[in-house]
């Protein structure tokens, strides 16, 4: 018999390393010969879109178009340490470090511009659209190319460093503020369970993610789609089948991950509530997008069948058995 049910899952997630661990990102910003700006960070791009977000944050902070920012990442010879691409921390931590480095860089640019423009102060100097100019007398202006020319071989460079706020939990009381910031998500699914075969078909799914501010909404959606699919596999298919420490399911024919046929259309809702400590309000969402999905699926299975599932993945065999046990016990 086919039974339909609906379920929701809600989650909050503390981003960053947490629990008092030093959570540091560093960034360097350098004026290049042609007036373009080099940004150097050790944060890794693993497909999540860190490079795009870094360039966007730098371009915003420097007031220049994206194509004037040249990003160098991951190379330990040429970039400072920006921590791991883990813990949902790169956009927030390294984004902050880049923003700070860009602000320091602008102050250094103003110092040089002051000399070139024969000014007696850097006050009221503005850096925008590849130029440094005096806001109260805009005829006084110099381009970044000219500044680079003026400097000749001398390097104009600034650093930025950001350490996330986290306190260690008291081992006695368990009190503390282990993470900052937190991000919030919600998922709702409607599904159909075949109680004979144990097959679960997701009919509709909605995922809502608080992101502080979406640096790039397209990339945020991509993360939401990916997290949803991964959680779907976690709930319904993926089983390492560990026996005495040996993985039983070592192939894609046994360790099943969702295919394009298993993943249904997903309605994605991005919630923007800027975070005051974040670069332009942007929080990380890499891990949180996955979290509320599995509880939503399990709640919907309960709603459909009355069976509470406590072991993952809920494969068809397990669900069919759980339902028949439930019926027998009444």
């Amino acid at each position: 018999m086919k039974k339909r049910g609906r379920g929701i899952g809600l989650s909050f997630y503390g981003t960053g390393y947490g629990n008092g661990f030093p959570d540091v990102s560093n960034a360097w910003v350098r004026l290049l010969k042609d007036g373009k700006i080099g940004v150097y960070v050790g944060g890794a791009e693993v497909g999540q879109g860190a490079m795009t977000a870094f360039v966007q944050i730098a371009a915003e902070a420097l007031g220049v178009p994206h194509d004037r920012v040249l990003l160098e990442i991951e190379d330990t010879l040429t970039t400072p340490d920006s921590g791991t691409a883990a813990a949902t921390r790169q956009t927030y931590n390294t984004g902050n470090a880049i923003k700070i480095a860009c602000e320091n860089f602008k102050e250094k640019l103003k110092e040089v511009a002051k000399d070139i423009l024969n000014l007696n102060s850097t006050a009221a100097l503005e850096v925008k659209d590849g130029e440094v100019y005096l806001e109260i007398f805009p005829q006084k202006r110099v381009s970044l190319e000219k500044i680079a020319d003026f400097l000749g071989g001398n390097i104009l460079e600034a650093e930025g460093s950001f350490t996330a706020q986290t306190t260690k939990l008291d081992p006695e009381t368990g009190q503390g503020a282990p993470y900052w910031p937190y991000t919030f998500s919600a998922c709702g699914v409607e599904l159909e369970v075949d109680t004979i075969t144990g097959q679960v078909d997701i009919l509709k799914a909605v995922l809502v993610q608080d992101v502080g501010r979406a640096v790039n909404p397209h990339l945020v959606e991509g993360q939401m789609d990916g997290g949803y699919a991964m959680a779907l596999g976690y709930a319904l298919f993926e089983d390492l089948n560990l026996k005495r420490g040996v993985m039983g399911n070592r192939k894609f024919s046994k360790y099943l991950i969702p295919t394009s046929m298993d993943v249904t259309e997903l309605t994605k809702i991005i919630v923007e509530d800027p975070e005051s400590t974040a670069p332009y309000g942007a929080k990380g969402i890499g891990e949180p997008v996955m979290i509320p999905v599995t509880p939503a699926i399990l709640n919907a299975i309960y709603d459909a069948t009355g069976v509470r599932i406590t072991e993952l993945p809920i494969t068809p065999e397990k669900l069919a058995k759980a339902f028949s046990d439930f019926e027998k016990e009444g």
């Binding site: 693993v46 497909g47 999540q48 879109g49 397209h218 990339l219 959606e221 991509g222 939401m224 789609d225 990916g226 997290g227 949803y228 699919a229 991964m230 192939k251 894609f252 024919s253 991950i257 969702p258 295919t259 394009s260 046929m261 993943v263 259309e265 997903l266």
Partner: protein
């Protein structure tokens, strides 16, 4: 050793190869078409997908001798006169790539599908790429991209 002839991306090759080589080995190692990715090596993931005489195949499951005399298209063969294939353009436009490892296989599967497709539904697109696995994207943006590529080609 054995001699085979292949046409790859429009160019003819005569090759002397070891008998136990798979098509993927010849493409990657002998001809350096490294856009063909090796994932699972057993026909489950589709990362090594190439078009062989108009059909999509897992190049890890085809022995090189079986491909003798055939025409192969890899992702490197899609660019025409410096212009990206509509499928490649749509993948970029729609953000259908994340880590990128599965991407060449998906692009080839999409290309083979669109060569025959008429007003494809999203469900048909999903079926066409169901032999390719992706861990990052959740597939939705890949389906968006293939729909978009169809629109590019039809000028709609």
């Amino acid at each position: 050793m054995i001699n085979i002839k292949l046409n790859v991306n429009g160019k003819d090759y005569s090759l002397e190869i070891e008998e136990d080589k798979r098509l993927i080995d010849v493409l990657r190692e002998d001809l350096r078409f490294t856009g063909v990715k090796e994932g699972c090596s057993e026909g489950e993931c589709g990362a090594c997908s190439v078009i062989m005489d108009g059909r999509i195949v897992n190049s890890c499951l085809v022995m090189a001798v079986q491909a003798n005399g055939s025409s192969i298209v890899t992702v490197e063969g899609l660019v025409k006169d410096g212009e990206l294939d509509p499928v490649q353009r749509a993948f970029i436009e729609k953000g259908a790539t994340q880590c990128g490892y599965c991407t060449p296989g998906f692009i080839m599967a999409a290309r083979a599908f669109l060569n025959r497709a008429k007003d494809p539904t999203r469900e048909e697109i999903r079926e066409a790429i169901s032999g390719n696995l992706c861990r990052c994207t959740g597939y939705n943006k890949i389906v968006d991209a293939i729909e978009e590529a169809y629109r590019y080609e039809k000028g709609i």
